[in-house]
C-alpha cells in the first residue's frame, strides 16, 4: 500500500551503518575510555582528594554547627548583603519553616554544596569571560563549547564524570559547575564587550596598561552584568542539586529524588519548596547587593 512498495529499499530505510559496525565502534570507545580511567584512577583520586576533603569539611561545618549559630550567621550575611529588613525577616521565616519540617540538616548540605559550586563557577567563569572579551578567537572557540554545555542533557555528561570520579560529592560538584558556569562566562564576556568605547578610549589616552584598563574601567563598568551572571549561576546551581543527587550528593535534592521514585507527593513538595525558599534568599540578597554597588548610576539631575 505504502509508497515504499514501489521504491528501492535504499530510499525507504535510512542507510545506517550496520549494527555490528556501530557495536564495534561503541565497544572500542567505551573500552578505551574505561581502560584510560582504570589506568589513571589512582592519579585522579589523589588529584581530587583535597577537593573531597574540603567538601566534606564544609558540609560537616554546616551540618554539625549548632543551628542558632548558622541561622544568625545567615541573617547577618543576608542583612549586610541586602540592607533590607524585609529580606532578613523573610530569610528567618523561611529557615524557621525548613527547620520545623525537619529539613534543617538536608538544607545545610544543599547550602554547603551550592555555596562551593557557586564560588567555583564564579572563580572559573570570570577569567574565562575576560579572556573571551579580550580575544575574539577565544570567544569563537568557547561559545560553541558553552552551547554544548547548555543544551547537552546533564545526565549525559554525568556518565563520563561518574566513570572518572565515581559516586560522591566531587562528581556532583563537577556536574553542577558545568551546568552553572555558562551564564557566568557569557555575561562576563558580554558585560566587558558592552563597556562604553569612549571611556575605554579615555583610559587609553591617559596611558593605561591592559591590566589598569581591566581593573579601573572594564570590570567596574561591566559589574551590573557580571552581578546578573553571578545571580544566574546561583539559581542554576540550586536547580542542579536535584540532578547531582543522582550521583551521590545528599541534601534536599536526594529527598526529591526519593520522592520521585516512591511517588511521595508531600515529601517532594516540601523539599521542593525548601529549595525555592533558599533560591529566593540567595536571589534577593545578591540582587540587592548588586544594586547597591550601582547606586552611583542613579540620576539626580542632568
Amino acid at each position: 500500500m505504502a509508497l515504499c512498495d514501489y521504491l528501492p529499499a535504499m530510499l525507504c530505510k535510512f542507510p545506517a551503518l550496520s549494527d555490528s559496525t556501530i557495536r564495534a565502534g561503541r565497544k572500542t570507545i567505551d573500552d578505551g575510555f574505561k581502560a584510560f580511567v582504570r589506568s589513571y584512577s589512582d592519579i585522579i583520586d589523589t588529584a581530587v582528594q583535597p577537593l573531597q576533603v574540603f567538601l566534606n569539611f564544609l558540609e560537616r561545618l554546616f551540618v554539625t554547627s549548632p543551628w542558632p549559630i548558622i541561622l544568625i550567621a545567615m541573617l547577618v550575611i543576608v542583612y549586610l548583603g541586602s540592607r533590607s529588613v524585609r529580606v532578613t525577616i523573610g530569610t528567618a521565616l523561611a529557615m524557621y519553616f525548613i527547620g520545623l519540617f525537619g529539613l534543617w540538616n538536608d538544607a545545610m548540605v544543599t547550602l554547603a554544596m551550592t555555596t562551593v559550586c557557586t564560588i567555583f563557577a564564579v572563580l572559573l567563569g570570570i577569567p574565562i569571560g575576560i579572556l573571551m572579551a579580550r580575544f575574539d578567537r577565544v570567544q569563537a572557540t568557547v561559545n560553541p563549547i558553552l552551547d554544548v554545555m547548555q543544551t547537552m542533557p546533564s545526565f549525559v555528561y554525568l556518565i563520563p564524570v561518574v566513570m572518572i570520579f565515581g559516586i560522591g560529592k566531587v562528581p556532583g560538584m563537577i556536574a553542577v559547575v558545568i551546568y552553572a558556569v555558562p551564564p557566568m562566562i557569557r555575561l562576563t564576556n558580554l558585560g566587558i564587550r558592552l563597556v562604553d568605547k569612549e571611556v575605554l578610549e579615555a583610559a587609553d589616552a591617559f596611558g593605561s596598561s591592559g591590566w589598569q584598563k581591566l581593573k579601573n574601567v572594564q570590570i567596574p563598568l561591566a559589574l551590573p552584568t557580571i552581578m546578573a551572571g553571578i545571580n544566574q549561576t546561583i539559581m542554576m546551581s540550586l536547580a542542579m542539586v536535584v540532578v547531582a543527587s543522582m550521583v551521590g550528593v545528599g541534601g534536599l535534592g536526594k529527598n526529591v529524588l526519593g520522592a520521585i521514585n516512591n511517588q511521595f507527593f508531600t515529601v517532594g513538595f516540601l523539599n521542593g519548596f525548601a529549595l525555592v525558599a533558599i533560591a529566593i534568599i540567595f536571589d534577593r540578597t545578591s540582587q540587592a547587593f548588586g544594586k547597591r554597588l550601582q547606586k552611583h548610576s542613579e540620576v539626580i539631575h542632568g
Partner: protein
C-alpha cells in the same frame, strides 16, 4: 616646563584592512570617492601637513566626516597612521614602541572628550586623579593636585559627587580638570565643548582661555564651530574630506578665504570680533588724530571706544605707544560687514 611644537608631516590615513596598499595610488591622485567605490577603503586623512605652535592653541575645524577627530587621535596615536609622521620634540610618535607610547600618553598628553568619557562609578575627585593614579603618583599627592584643579575649573564642593549627578557642563569641567591634573604639555580637546549648551560653551571657552594665559600648553582643539575656532585659535586649520583646505590665523582665513567652501563658512562670522585694527589701518599722514587704540584690538572694541568718545577718527599705537597708523570709523564699518563678493560666491556654490 616649556611646551614644544607638534608637527604633522605627510600624514595619510586609509581605513580598511589593506589601507597601506593604496597610499601610493592616493598620492598619485586617486580620489576619496574612487577609493571607496573601487577598493572599498575609506580615505580618512590625506597629505596633512600642519605645524602646531608651541604653547599656543591650534584649532582644527571641519564638519562631521572631515577627519578632524581622526587627526587629533593621531597625535597620541589612538589611531595608527597609514603613513606619515607626527613629531613632538623631535620624536616621531608613530614610531614609538608600546612602552614609550604609554609613557608619552601618561606624561606628555592629556585629552578631553566630546562625550566626557568619565568613569561613572567614580566620584569627581576619583575621576580627576585618574591620570596620576595610572602614573603611580601616591594618593595623597594626586588628590591634592586634583582638588586644586577641581577648584580652578569651578567645581569646588562637588568633589564627592558622581558624574551622573552633574549637568553636562559640569561633567565637562571634570573632564577638563582630569586633563589638567595630569600636568601634561599637550592638551588634546576633541570637540570638547560641542555637546554643551551655547552659553555654557562660551563660559567654558573663557575658562580655557584664562587657564591658557598662565599654562601656555600646546593645545589642539577640535571643533565644527567657526566662531569657537576664531575665539580660541592662535592658528586654525580647516579640514574637508580629510584634506587641509586652509590654515592660518583667524584673520587670515576670514579676510582671505581659500575657496568657496571656506567663504561660505566665513560669511556668517562676526568679523568685528576677528579682525584687528592694524589689519585695516591706513598709513599715518601727518600727526596722529583722535584717540589712541592699541595694536591687536579687534574692530568691534575699537568702534565701541570711538563711538562712546564721539570721534570718527582714531590712530593705532604699537606696544611702545608709538603711533603706527590711522583709522576712520567708516573704514571699520566697511571691514565689519561681509564683502559683497562673498555673498555671490555663496550663491554660486
Amino acid at each position: 616646563m616649556a611646551s614644544h611644537a607638534i608637527e604633522v608631516r605627510n600624514l595619510y590615513k586609509i581605513f580598511g584592512p589593506r589601507g597601506a596598499d593604496y597610499v601610493d595610488q592616493v598620492k598619485n591622485g586617486l580620489s576619496k570617492t574612487d577609493l571607496n567605490a573601487q577598493y572599498g577603503h575609506v580615505l580618512g586623512l590625506q597629505d596633512i601637513n600642519i605645524a602646531m605652535p608651541a604653547g599656543g592653541v591650534m584649532v582644527v575645524m571641519g564638519l562631521s566626516g572631515s577627519g578632524k577627530s581622526t587627526l587629533i587621535r593621531h597625535i597620541n596615536r589612538l589611531i595608527e597612521p597609514t603613513s606619515g609622521e607626527v613629531l613632538y620634540d623631535g620624536v616621531d610618535v608613530c614610531r614609538m614602541n608600546e612602552r614609550d607610547l604609554r609613557e608619552f600618553r601618561r606624561h606628555k598628553t592629556a585629552m578631553v572628550f566630546q562625550k566626557f568619557a568619565l568613569l561613572p562609578h567614580r566620584t569627581v575627585v576619583e575621576n580627576t586623579v585618574y591620570g596620576l593614579e595610572i602614573q603611580g603618583v601616591p594618593t595623597a599627592e594626586s588628590e591634592k593636585r586634583a582638588r586644586y584643579w577641581i577648584d580652578r575649573v569651578g567645581l569646588s564642593g562637588f568633589e564627592n559627587h558622581y558624574p551622573n549627578q552633574l549637568s553636562g557642563g559640569m561633567q565637562q569641567r571634570v573632564g577638563l580638570a582630569r586633563a589638567l591634573t595630569n600636568d601634561a604639555e599637550i592638551l588634546l580637546m576633541d570637540e570638547a565643548y560641542s555637546a554643551l549648551d551655547p552659553l555654557i560653551r562660551v563660559d567654558m571657552q573663557s575658562v580655557l582661555l584664562d587657564l591658557q594665559k598662565e599654562l601656555k600648553k600646546t593645545v589642539v582643539f577640535i571643533t565644527h564651530d567657526l566662531d569657537e575656532a576664531l575665539r580660541l585659535g592662535d592658528k586654525i586649520a580647516i579640514l574637508r574630506d580629510g584634506r587641509v583646505v586652509q590654515q592660518g590665523t583667524g584673520q587670515e582665513i576670514v579676510l582671505d578665504p581659500a575657496d568657496d567652501y571656506i567663504t561660505a563658512f566665513v560669511k556668517e562670522v562676526n568679523r568685528g570680533r576677528v579682525i584687528n585694527v592694524e589689519t585695516i589701518m591706513k598709513p599715518l599722514a601727518g600727526n596722529p588724530e583722535g584717540l589712541p587704540i592699541a595694536k591687536g584690538t579687534v574692530l568691534e572694541s575699537a568702534a565701541r571706544a570711538m563711538t562712546s568718545a564721539g570721534q570718527s577718527v582714531a590712530h593705532v599705537v604699537d606696544e611702545a605707544g608709538r603711533p603706527a597708523g590711522t583709522l576712520a570709523l567708516d573704514t571699520i564699518i566697511a571691514a565689519m560687514v561681509t564683502p559683497i563678493g562673498h555673498d555671490e560666491a555663496q550663491q554660486a556654490a
